[in-house]
């Protein structure tokens, strides 16, 4: 009998080793077809008209002139008179046509009259937001060591007094302000789909993170059963949390296709993509911390604000303070409604902001007390929110060695100066869940020995196909290239959406279960043939063999020929919270350290070295795991040094909604990245844990802290652009 549990550490044939992706060549060579690449016969293109105003009411809309443009085949209004529009770029109308030129002229011909309304766009300015009545309370919570006495009536007033008392007891009280602006997802492949109908059935080639979960989102608005919808996505050019839905534009493409009786391709233009299809909420904070002489935080009191768009939400107060869990704390949050589209989940929702808004303050404790930041972080590990004190401690030691922290460290602003250039170190730490999502897989072993596994999952670009192939091959004693992996169709057994680092756990669970079940059926057949009890048989190196006497064996192919005419089919199913498992778990830690150089004359920050130490339970594909961490760090460097959404304060226009203006790093900007995958037996035994989010969380705080260490000055708000660095230096000099 094949065991469901993972092989013991060090005993696996494939798992944990370095593997190229099975679809790497297809992606690198351009053979991989993304939703954007889909071309159907007789297809028409469609584009949408974005509203030029950030806040307005539609007075009238007339699409008929568009229909007069030669080559335009359809034009429809997506808003009606009286509709209020709350952000620039909101979709007003759609035009389908034979050529891009015809569509552009059609869009230009549409006549819309707007009544322009007041705009608010300054999410960093709490006072202005209050004046404009754009704020709302987004929660407050207080935790104190002393219980509130029974006789107290005004609890908030008592808490305020208690906090003041606690601050007085502290050796030092430090105040700071920090911020992290809205950024976009900037998926290289924008949102969109190509939709076609076969009779009453819809096929949507959709750029999605959610192959199994979007059919109903099309079916509902179209008034058809979900059984008549097939979602297809072989490859996705970036999602990062923004591509879980069918979205208005998806449903619009499907309904246009139905109406025209022709396939319709509708992908968002870059600027409309950025204006509509997802951003990460901003956070700005005022913090007061009280510490003892060693830099251990005893009291935390903070108020943060920011926006998630017109809804007026803000970074969850649950991540403040982040990871560290001081004995006394009060946190308050205020949301600001700005004229911008609603935010969407962005890789590790809330956590990168939590890290910046909290751990810059912990680093300022080190700066104010003149203590090594490493010491302050280490001393505060006594109280962490996830109980991983010892994991952090070990990870910090490893990271410090890789960074050569002790040799390079100097107190904030007191390092050697080489002309106008100073260098500095900073660190941060993070946490994430990463539990497996629900997943069902169907595995077939054909009588000719070929193997295929099908599940309605998707590859976000991180190597999901390869993970599935490795798990199945490991289980069946085959090579990964012997396993055909079928994902990307909603007709396959359902698997969860790829969000929150849940995919690797989910697909490993279902694939391992399906492959083990299939193998056990096969072993039953082989047992009779070899005259060895099935319980003693194992699949290894392309053979089924007697584990006690490996010479008694049969090749994989011959074993499969025992199946007769029909393939053997087995299912593997994992349901979070219901399926008992040793295969996966959740909760990771992670420590990152940054070394930067700063040019004090130009404000330029350059990455010198970055160290990421990360646990993720059991590693399936070491190479992909390292890539995943590298990618997260690069994305983190991007928002630490370059990225931000810039809204015009007067008009609410999204000023930098093109790749030419939205700054991103190039490879020349990321410096040396050292990845250490932390996998002691204690981690391996936990099984698979998701890795997608964790590595993107700490870079903002670590880099901000490194710049502060280099210059001795806190640049309060990310990204740390030359402007912000020079402004902060000028302010510090008075």
């Amino acid at each position: 009998m094949a065991k469901l549990d993972w092989p013991q550490q060090g005993k696996a044939a494939l798992l944990g080793k370095r593997h190229d992706r099975i679809d790497g060549v297809a992606k690198a060579s351009g053979a991989a077809r993304y939703a954007y690449d889909i071309l159907e016969d007789n297809m028409v293109l469609a584009r949408v008209l974005g509203c030029p105003h950030a806040h307005c009411r539609v007075k009238s809309i007339d699409v008929k002139p568009a229909l007069k443009v030669p080559g335009v085949v359809a034009a429809e209004a997506l808003k009606k008179p009286g509709d209020e529009i709350q952000w620039q770029g909101d979709l007003v109308a759609v035009v389908a046509g034979e050529t891009e030129g015809a569509i552009a002229e059609g869009l230009a011909a549409i006549k819309v009259q707007y009544e322009v309304l007041d705009v608010f766009a300054q999410d960093d300015d709490l006072e202005a937001a209050q004046k404009a009545k754009r704020t709302r309370r987004a929660g407050q919570s207080t935790k104190l060591e002393r219980d509130i006495p029974d006789e107290v009536e005004d609890e908030e007033a008592w808490e305020e007094q208690e906090l003041q008392r606690l601050f007085k007891e502290c050796d030092k009280v430090i105040e700071g302000q920090y911020g992290i602006p809205v950024i976009t997802h900037m998926c290289l492949e924008p949102h969109g789909s190509t939709c076609l109908w076969q009779g009453d059935k819809l096929i949507a080639h959709l750029s999605t993170q959610n192959v199994s979960g979007t059919a109903g989102q099309f079916a509902g608005p179209l008034g058809i059963p979900a059984t008549d919808v097939t979602i297809h996505c072989d490859y996705i050019g970036g999602g990062f949390g923004s591509k879980f839905a069918a979205d208005t534009w998806g449903v619009t493409a499907a309904s246009l296709a139905k109406k025209l009786g022709r396939p319709v391709k509708l992908m968002l233009d870059r600027d409309l993509e950025l204006k509509n299809a997802g951003t990460r909420p901003s956070g700005f904070i005022k913090v007061k911390v009280g510490v003892d002489g060693n830099g251990v935080v005893k009291v935390w009191d903070s108020h943060h604000w920011g926006t998630n768009g017109i809804g007026g939400g803000v970074v969850s107060q649950g991540v403040i303070p982040y990871v560290f869990d001081p004995p006394n704390r009060r946190r308050r949050a205020t949301g600001i409604r700005v004229n911008a589209a609603p935010a969407r989940a962005w890789r590790a929702p809330n956590h990168p902001q939590g890290a910046v808004l909290s751990q810059c303050a912990y680093d300022d404790v080190a700066r104010e007390l003149g203590i090594d930041s490493y010491e302050v972080f280490q001393r505060n590990l006594q109280r962490v929110s996830n109980g991983k004190t010892e994991v952090y401690r070990e990870q910090m030691e490893i990271a410090a060695k890789l960074m050569d922290w002790k040799a390079k460290w100097h107190p904030h602003g007191k390092g050697p100066r080489n002309g106008s250039v100073v260098t500095g170190l900073g660190m941060a730490l993070h946490t994430w869940g990463g539990a497996a999502h629900n997943s069902t897989a169907e595995l077939k072993i054909h009588p000719d020995g070929s193997v295929e596994i099908s599940l309605g999952s998707q590859d976000l670009g991180t190597g999901t196909r390869t993970v599935i192939a490795l798990v199945v091959a490991e289980t069946l004693g085959l090579k990964p290239e012997q396993v055909k992996v079928n994902i990307g169709y909603s007709t396959y057994p359902p698997s969860g959406p790829s969000g929150g680092s849940t995919t690797v756990g989910g697909v490993s669970e279902s694939s391992r279960r399906a492959a083990t079940a299939a193998l056990n059926q096969l072993l039953d057949k082989v047992a009779g043939k070899l005259g060895v009890p099935a319980a003693r048989l194992e699949a290894k190196d392309g053979r089924i063999q007697d584990s006690q006497n490996p010479e008694t064996c049969i090749s994989w192919k011959d074993a499969c020929s025992l199946l007769g005419m029909s393939p053997l089919v087995a299912k593997g199913e994992y349901r979070r919270g219901r399926t008992k498992t040793n295969l996966s778990s959740s909760q990771v830690a992670g420590v990152q350290m940054a070394e930067v150089a700063v040019d004090l004359e130009t404000g330029i920050v350059r990455m010198k070295k970055f160290v990421a130490v990360q646990d993720m339970g059991l590693i399936i594909n070491r190479k992909a795991a390292e890539s995943q961490v590298q990618g997260g760090v690069i994305m983190g460097i991007a928002y630490a040094l370059f990225e931000e959404r810039i809204l015009d304060p007067q008009t609410g226009a999204f000023l930098n909604a093109e790749l030419s203006d939205y700054l991103l790093p190039r490879l020349g900007d990321v410096g040396e990245i050292v990845v250490h995958l932390y996998e002691p037996p204690s981690e391996y035994q936990r099984g698979v844990v998701g890795l997608g989010e964790p590595p993107v969380i700490s870079p903002g705080a670590a880099i901000s802290n490194a710049v502060c260490n280099a210059t001795g000055v806190r640049v309060p708000t990310l990204p740390l652009t030359p402007k912000r660095v020079l402004d902060a230096l000028a302010k510090a000099q008075g």
């Binding site: 030129g101 404000g603 007067q650």
Partner: protein, 329 residues
């Protein structure tokens, strides 16, 4: 982009004839790195596009007794590799740090000089002056002008090569309208618009920039220093190009200092030049030149930092031209 009529003439005469018919509705296409995005955003909606890349006489680099003549459709990577341009590090330094191999290979010299401003109010359809400058003045002006910004124009001149070519005393040959032909200093290609009817380029729509001719006496030291946020192709925050003639004893006989990305035109700093002339180049003198260059700056609400950056660019360009260490990152 809208539909348009496309022409690909083989000679200058044909091109000029195509431009002459409806100059205001005609756009000249070379590398397309600027025109195509402008057309996609419908900021430019020509009825006719004239592609001049197939005109042989506009291509190539020719050295002759008076210097070098460079065809307007020569691509920047060709300039980078051209031995004829060895005396002009001020030009090559810009191209080498363009930050995009694709742009290097696609962008033409003439096109680079005629780019439209990257000002985000302009690129988002609010016009080049953005409500007579009010949008920029009260809006997000972090990348806008710190000099010559007291009128309605507050964008910055986008060309990265113009400052270098002006420092090198370059002229351009301009053909058209019709049979006419003139020679214009690069400096005079640009102006600060006073109202919405004025473009920032002085060429008329019926004219064609055909060749660029750097003028430089032998042995002139020259360099460009760009302060860039990151290694990508985005515009630098400020740049400076410097050309210095020294006498036998190392004293500066003449100097040209031209800043980029700081004003609606490439900004020649006579103040910095005066500091340099008659002195020997050294660290302190370079610092003084930088300070003199930004002394007249009038920063807007959010671009005070650019004063410091422009100052540093001038200082480091002077040092680089003189073959001294610039320092910095």
């Amino acid at each position: 982009m809208k539909n348009f009529e496309y022409a690909a003439p083989r000679t200058e005469e044909e091109a000029l004839a195509l431009l002459a018919q409806r100059p205001d509705q005609t756009a000249v296409l070379a590398g397309g790195t600027d025109l195509v995005p402008l057309m996609k955003k419908m900021l430019v909606t020509p009825q006719r596009v004239v592609n001049i890349k197939n005109i042989d006489s506009l291509r190539g680099i020719h050295a002759h007794s008076q210097g070098v003549t460079i065809g307007a459709v020569t691509t920047l990577d060709q300039l980078l590799e051209a031995p004829e341009l060895e005396p002009y590090p001020a030009v090559k330094q810009v191209i080498a740090k363009l930050g995009s191999l694709q742009l290097q290979c696609q962008m033409t010299l003439g096109g680079e000089l005629c780019r439209r401003p990257q000002c985000w109010y302009f690129r988002n359809g609010y016009g080049l002056l953005g409500r007579r400058g009010q949008l920029v003045e009260q809006g997000d002006n972090r990348y806008h002008a710190i000099l010559d910004n007291q009128g309605p124009a507050k964008f910055v001149s986008p060309s990265r090569l113009a400052p270098a070519l002006i420092a090198l005393g370059a002229v351009v040959r301009v053909a058209g309208p019709g049979q006419q032909e003139t020679t214009v200093p690069v400096e005079r290609l640009y102006r600060t618009p006073k109202d919405d009817h004025q473009r920032e380029l002085t060429l008329s729509p019926a004219q064609l920039l055909t060749h660029v001719l750097p003028k430089l006496s032998q042995g002139t030291l020259n360099a460009t220093y760009e302060v860039k946020h990151g290694t990508g192709p985005q515009p630098p925050l400020a740049t400076a190009s410097v050309a210095l003639e020294l006498d036998g004893s190392g004293v500066v006989r003449s100097a040209r200092v031209v800043m980029g990305q700081v004003a609606p035109v490439p900004w020649r700093s006579r103040e910095a030049e005066e500091v340099l002339v008659g002195q020997r180049i050294g660290y302190e003198l370079a610092e003084l030149a930088g300070a003199a260059a930004v002394a007249p700056a009038t920063p807007l609400s959010q671009n005070q930092y650019k004063v410091q950056i422009a100052k540093t660019a001038v200082k480091r360009a002077v040092l680089l031209a003189a073959g001294l260490e610039t320092g910095g990152l």
